[in-house]
């Protein structure tokens, strides 16, 4: 029923997972975090969002997952005007969007496994399936030994990977990742990108905000560069 609705909605808006039209976001008193941004992300695409610190990447991701409202403009996700969604509809859409926040938003008094499980528990996945999925993810991110540690006891690099694991755990249709490799060495960065690529191959649309050139340089993916809240360029990785 619900998936049926989704496909019809998607058909209506063509092939785009995200559609932004003239979106602005300002903060009092006079900070223009984003001005007049228009672009789209196709369903199944892996999309990069780059720009210096303070350029507006995090703000843009927060708008997409409805953590914040735009001051102006229209945002559609999976065909829904996300700012008109409320209550159960918003909750159901959020279950299908996985977000790895820049500040992680982990529960530091819970174990690594519990933190990852939360994303699956809210959509009533079976405990056995959750356990299995958590083990798989920790394995892929080389965190198996941390399964029962409290996330508060982990290093920042480890916390970052736990946040990432939580964002992909529920196999969402859309994955938003904010600076996923900020605290990681190159081998671990590779593991993280592997995991995201695999999710993308499995059908998820992935949006990655980063200033780490190594992860987008040689790809064929589209890259949107923000400068001081404005869209500076929208190119493919191998065109740099």
């Amino acid at each position: 029923m619900e998936t049926q609705e989704n496909t019809t909605q998607q058909e209506l808006s063509g092939n785009n997972m995200i559609e932004m039209i003239k979106v602005s976001r300002s903060y009092p008193p006079d900070i223009h975090a984003l001005s007049d941004i228009s672009f789209h992300v196709e369903t199944g695409e892996m999309f990069f969002l780059i720009g210096r610190s303070g350029a507006g990447k995090t703000t843009l991701l927060k708008l997409i997952c409805n953590m914040e409202m735009p001051s102006n403009g229209l945002i559609e996700v999976a065909g829904y005007n996300i700012n008109n969604l409320k209550g159960k509809d918003l909750a159901l859409l959020r279950q299908r969007i996985g977000v790895a926040y820049q500040d992680f938003k982990l529960l530091n008094d819970r174990t690594v496994a519990e933190n990852i499980a939360i994303a699956m528990e809210v959509s009533y996945k079976k405990p056995r399936a959750i356990k299995q999925r958590v083990r798989d993810l920790l394995d892929q991110l080389q965190l198996s030994s941390k399964h029962d540690l409290l996330t508060g006891e982990l290093s920042r690099g480890e916390q970052q990977r736990v946040a990432l694991a939580r964002s992909v755990a529920n196999s969402p249709r859309l994955i938003l990742v904010d600076e996923p490799t900020g605290n990681l060495d190159s081998t671990t960065t590779e593991k993280v990108m592997d995991l995201l690529t695999r999710s993308n191959k499995a059908g998820a649309t992935v949006v990655i905000a980063t200033h780490d050139a190594s992860i987008y340089q040689n790809s064929n993916n589209r890259i949107l560069e923000l400068r001081e809240g404005m869209l500076h360029s929208l190119i493919r990785g191998n065109e740099i």
Binding site: G87, L90, A91, L93, R94, K105, L107, I118, V122, Y124
Partner: protein, 295 residues
């Protein structure tokens, strides 16, 4: 099915994390129920005793003169004009004398020197059962004393009056203590849930972000409130029952308690108390979580 599994798991987490304040709330609820039910129990028993007290109530109208036939007929008509009565009997001076002598039994020789008409004639009236409220009896007696030729009306005024004063006082105590205790208990439950919510704000925020529905977030808190209400009232009532048993075994035998014939609550009242307690506690937790979800 899966929803309830998730909700119960979440409730378990809540209880484990905040068990000490949960326990305090549980104590408050059971104490409130205990105190309130204690006063109510005394109150309902008093009302029962009041009914029994007025069961064998009769009014005696003392007359100035021995009434003649016509006078009797007139009095009877006037009394019946006020209300139907269960029984109405004229007692002549001689009858009164003979009754008194009989009551004295072997001491009746003290009456030998007295004239047989030294007691006044009277009318004994047993009012209808429907007329047995205290204020109605009072009205009736005022009416009777206004009849011609009556000297005085008697029905054990003082005793009944004092009893009804006591019942009125008890009503106030029950209503006041009830209101206070209900407010305290509801407030305590709301307060504990708010503490839980404040202590777990990060988690609740995150739950919203990962797409937990309102009922997923809210139901565990509601269950917590319901559990508080259920366990609190059951323990409170059990404590009261223990107290009741203790008092009844202590004070058996002839005495004032026998006259009152102390009864415990009927099953219906017991269930009503439990249900009321559950509803109030659920209401307390509901308002708290509602406030949070609106932010």
């Amino acid at each position: 099915m899966n929803f309830w599994f998730a909700v119960i798991r979440q409730t378990g987490r809540n209880l484990r994390q905040t068990w000490s304040s949960q326990f305090m709330t549980f104590l408050t609820v059971s104490l409130s129920v205990l105190i309130f039910a204690f006063f109510s129990l005394i109150y309902t028993n008093m009302l029962g005793a009041g009914d029994r007290l007025t069961d064998d109530l009769s009014l005696i109208v003392y007359l100035q003169e021995e009434p003649g036939l016509a006078m009797k007929e007139q009095l009877r008509r006037k009394i019946l004009a006020f209300d139907e009565v269960e029984e109405l009997r004229f007692v002549s001076r001689t009858e009164a004398y003979e009754r008194f002598a009989k009551q004295l039994g072997k001491d009746s020789d003290v009456l030998l020197d007295m004239p047989t008409d030294f007691l006044p004639a009277s009318i004994e009236i047993v009012p209808l059962r429907s007329l047995r409220g205290y204020s109605q009896i009072k009205l009736f007696s005022e009416y009777l004393s206004s009849l011609p030729g009556t000297e005085k009306v008697q029905y054990g005024q003082e005793w009944i009056e004092r009893f009804y004063h006591f019942v009125r006082l008890l009503t106030i105590v029950v209503v006041l203590s009830g209101t206070l205790l209900i407010l305290t208990a509801t407030f305590m439950v709301a307060y504990t849930i708010r503490l839980t919510i404040l202590g777990r704000q990060d988690e609740l925020e995150l739950l919203k972000l990962v797409g937990a529905t309102t009922s997923y977030i809210q139901t565990p808190f509601l269950i917590e409130g319901i559990l508080q209400g259920l366990l609190g009232s059951i323990i409170g009532l059990l404590a009261l029952y223990g107290l009741f048993q203790w008092i009844s075994t202590r004070f058996t035998g002839p005495g004032i308690l026998n006259f009152f014939q102390f009864d415990f609550f009927s099953p219906f009242i017991l269930i009503a108390i439990v249900v009321a307690s559950i509803s109030l506690c659920a209401l307390g937790s509901y308002t708290s979580i509602r406030k949070f979800l609106l932010i």
